[in-house]
C-alpha cells in the first residue's frame, strides 16, 4: 500500500467511525465528547499528546458476587482522534496522528482501566542537518528531512474519574502505549511511550451548565 492510499484509508476510517458514533448516540456532539491532553514521555524523552474521544456506547454492568454482594461498573466505548509528538535528541522528532477505539471500564469508586488500539500516520523529522551529495560531489542541505510511516499503536492504562464521586468534570490517567512504525528501514520500529494526562468531559460541563 502506498502512502497516498494509506492516508486515504486513515481519513476514511476516521470519517466512518465518526459517522457511526453520530448516528448511534443522538444529541449534541459535545454531549459525548471528551478532550485529552497529556505529557507523552517516550522513555526519558519529552513529548505531548492532544486528542478527543467520542462516546459510542455506554452501559452499566451489575454483577452479583458469590457472597451476595453487588458489584457494578460502567463500560464505555469511544472513537478517538489524537495528535502526538515526542522529541528524541539527535535521532528524530516524531509527529503522529492516530484514530483509535477505546474500551474503558470504570468502577463506581471512579477508578478505571482502559485499552485502546490505534492506527495512524507518522511524520518524523531527523535530529540533525541532513545533506545530500550528488555523484559529482556537490553537497546540498535537505529541508525538513524525515519520513512518513504507517503507525499502529496499542495502549493500556489506569486512571481516576473525578466525576463519579467528586462531581468534577475531569479524569486523570496514566497510559502505556507501544507505537510501531512501518516500513522503517524495510523492517519495523517499536517505540514505548508513557502518557500522564487529563481528560476533560465536555458532556459533564453541559449538564452542570444546564442546572443554572
Amino acid at each position: 500500500m502506498n502512502l497516498r492510499k494509506f492516508c486515504l484509508t486513515i481519513f476514511l476510517l476516521t470519517i466512518v467511525l465518526y459517522c457511526f458514533a453520530r448516528t448511534d448516540t443522538p444529541g449534541r456532539l459535545s454531549d459525548s465528547l471528551n478532550l485529552k491532553a497529556s505529557y507523552n514521555s517516550s522513555l526519558i524523552y519529552p513529548g505531548a499528546r492532544l486528542g478527543a474521544e467520542y462516546s459510542v456506547k455506554s452501559f452499566k454492568v451489575v454483577k452479583t458476587k458469590k457472597s451476595g454482594k453487588m458489584k457494578d461498573f460502567d463500560k464505555e466505548r469511544f472513537v478517538s482522534a489524537n495528535l502526538g509528538w515526542y522529541h528524541h535528541p539527535y535521532f528524530h522528532d516524531n509527529f503522529y496522528f492516530t484514530a483509535g477505539w477505546t474500551m474503558r471500564r470504570t468502577k463506581s469508586t471512579g477508578f478505571f482501566t482502559e485499552f485502546s488500539p490505534e492506527i495512524g500516520l507518522s511524520r518524523t523529522f531527523l535530529g540533525g542537518t541532513t545533506y545530500k551529495v550528488d555523484n559529482n560531489g556537490n553537497v546540498s542541505v535537505v529541508r525538513l528531512a524525515g519520513y512518513y510511516y504507517a503507525l499502529l499503536s496499542i495502549g493500556g492504562g489506569v486512571g481516576y474519574d473525578f466525576s463519579k464521586i467528586r462531581h468534577k468534570p475531569f479524569m486523570l490517567f496514566y497510559k502505556f502505549n507501544l507505537l510501531s512504525l512501518y516500513p522503517y528501514n524495510s523492517t519495523i520500529y517499536l517505540r514505548p511511550a508513557m502518557e500522564i494526562g487529563v481528560i476533560y468531559k465536555l458532556h459533564f460541563f453541559h449538564h452542570v451548565k444546564s442546572k443554572f
Binding site: 528524541h88 531527523l126 540533525g128 525538513l144 528501514n185 524495510s186 520500529y189
Partner: protein, 345 residues
C-alpha cells in the same frame, strides 16, 4: 493561538535541523547523509580544529557505530583528532522507508565515498581523512580502497580485526578453531565445548554455505571466551554505559541489526573477496589484529600486508585480544592509531 502553535512547531523543527558546523577541540555534533533511500547518522566527536578525521566503519553488517564511542577513545584519540561515528544504512540510528533493495556492498561503498565528501564539505577540503574498518567494516573499506580512485580521498587505511575476503576468512576460522581447539583439549580446558566445535569443523571441510559460515562465526565467537589470555569484552555493559549519555535509539539499533544481519545480501557477501584487487592499494595502511581473533584471524591481515603495494604498511598483533582489539587492548589500539595518524596526516 494557531499561529503560536505553528510557530512553535516550526521553531522546534528548524532548530533541530539548522546547519551548525563547529570547529573546536571538544566537539559533539550530529548530522545526517541522505543517499539512495537511507538517512545515515554521523556523529562527530573530538578535535575538529585538527582538521583530521578518523571515520569508524563499523562491523555487522548492521551493528551501528555507537559501541566504538568509548570513554577511553574519547580521552585518547578525540583529544587529538576528530572521530566520525558513521551509522551505515540499515544500522544504528540510520533511518528510511523501504530501502532494503539498496542494502548491498557497492551501494555502501558509494555511501562511504559520500560520507568523506560530506566531511570535507563541512570541515574543509584540506581535511585529512583516515578510514578504520572493523570486522565487516574491513570488507567495506577494502571495497572502497580498491574502487576507482577512492583511495586518493584518504590519507590512511586502518584495519582492525577486519575481513577483506569472506571465503578465505571462513577457511582460516575453521583451521584456527581446529588448531587452537586441539591445543586446548590437550591442556584439558573446556574439553566438551571444544570437542563440539572440532567435530563440526571436521564435518564441514570447505566450500562453505552461508549457513555453515554463520555457524563457524558462532563457534568463533564462543571460542574467544574459552581463552583465558583474552581480555573479555562485554557488549551489553558497554551499551549500558553509553545508551543514555549518547541518546541511543535502542529499538532502532536492535531492529536494524536484526534486519541487516539476516538480509539477503549476506549470501553475496559470503562469496566476496578483495584479495585479487589489493595490489591497487598504495595508501599507507595499518593492520591491527588480535592473536585470539577466531572470527577474523590474523592471517587475513597477513594476506593484506603481502598483497598491497603501499610503501608504508605495518601490522601489529595484540597478544590479549580477540575480535575487538579496540576494546580489549585499548592502550595498544590508541597508541598505534595516534602514531599512524600523526605520521601520515
Amino acid at each position: 493561538m494557531q499561529r503560536i502553535i505553528i510557530g512553535f512547531l516550526l521553531f522546534l523543527l528548524f532548530s533541530c535541523q539548522k546547519e551548525k558546523i563547529t570547529i573546536g577541540t571538544n566537539v559533539f555534533e550530529t548530522f545526517y547523509l541522505e543517499n539512495a533511500g537511507a538517512s545515515m547518522r554521523l556523529l562527530v566527536e573530538g578535535n575538529t580544529a585538527s582538521h583530521t578525521f578518523l571515520i569508524i566503519v563499523h562491523g555487522g553488517p548492521g551493528t551501528g557505530s555507537f559501541v566504538y564511542d568509548t570513554q577511553y577513545i574519547s580521552q585518547n584519540i578525540e583529544n587529538k583528532y576528530a572521530v566520525v561515528f558513521w551509522d551505515q544504512r540499515n544500522a544504528g540510528a540510520s533511518q528510511g522507508n523501504s530501502n532494503g533493495n539498496n542494502l548491498n556492498l557497492p551501494q555502501m561503498t558509494d555511501d562511504l565515498k559520500k560520507v568523506i565528501e560530506l566531511i570535507k564539505y563541512r570541515y574543509g577540503q584540506n581535511s585529512s581523512v583516515f578510514i578504520l574498518g572493523h570486522s565487516f567494516g574491513g570488507l567495506l573499506t577494502a571495497s572502497f580502497m580498491t574502487t576507482d580512485q577512492n583511495q586518493s580521498m584518504v590519507k590512511g587505511w586502518i584495519m582492525v580485526d577486519g575481513s577483506h575476503n569472506y571465503p578465505l576468512n571462513d577457511t582460516l576460522t575453521r583451521l584456527m578453531l581446529l588448531k587452537v581447539g586441539q591445543q586446548q583439549i590437550d591442556s584439558n580446558k573446556h574439553v566438551s565445548d571444544w570437542q563440539l566445535i572440532i567435530s563440526y569443523c571436521n564435518a564441514h571441510p570447505g566450500n562453505f554455505t552461508l549457513k555453515e559460515s554463520d555457524q563457524l562465526e558462532n563457534y568463533a565467537e564462543k571460542a574467544e571466551t574459552y581463552i583465558p589470555e583474552v581480555n573479555q569484552f562485554n557488549l551489553i555493559a558497554a551499551m549500558e554505559a553509553i545508551s543514555i549519555e549518547d541518546d541511543l535509539p535502542i529499538t532502532s539499533i536492535l531492529f536494524n541489526y536484526l534486519y541487516s544481519g539476516n538480509a539477503g545480501f549476506n549470501a553475496a557477501l559470503a562469496k566476496t573477496q578483495f584479495s585479487s584487487l589489493l595490489y591497487k592499494v598504495v595508501t599507507p595502511t595499518l593492520l591491527l589484529y588480535g592473536e585470539y581473533d577466531f572470527i577474523c584471524p590474523k592471517e587475513l591481515g597477513e594476506d593484506i600486508l603481502n598483497r598491497i603495494t603501499a610503501a608504508e604498511k605495518k601490522m601489529v598483533i595484540s597478544p590479549v585480544s580477540g575480535h575487538n582489539l579496540m576494546f580489549q587492548d585499548e592502550v595498544l589500539f590508541c597508541n598505534e592509531v595516534n602514531d599512524f595518524i600523526a605520521k601520515y596526516r
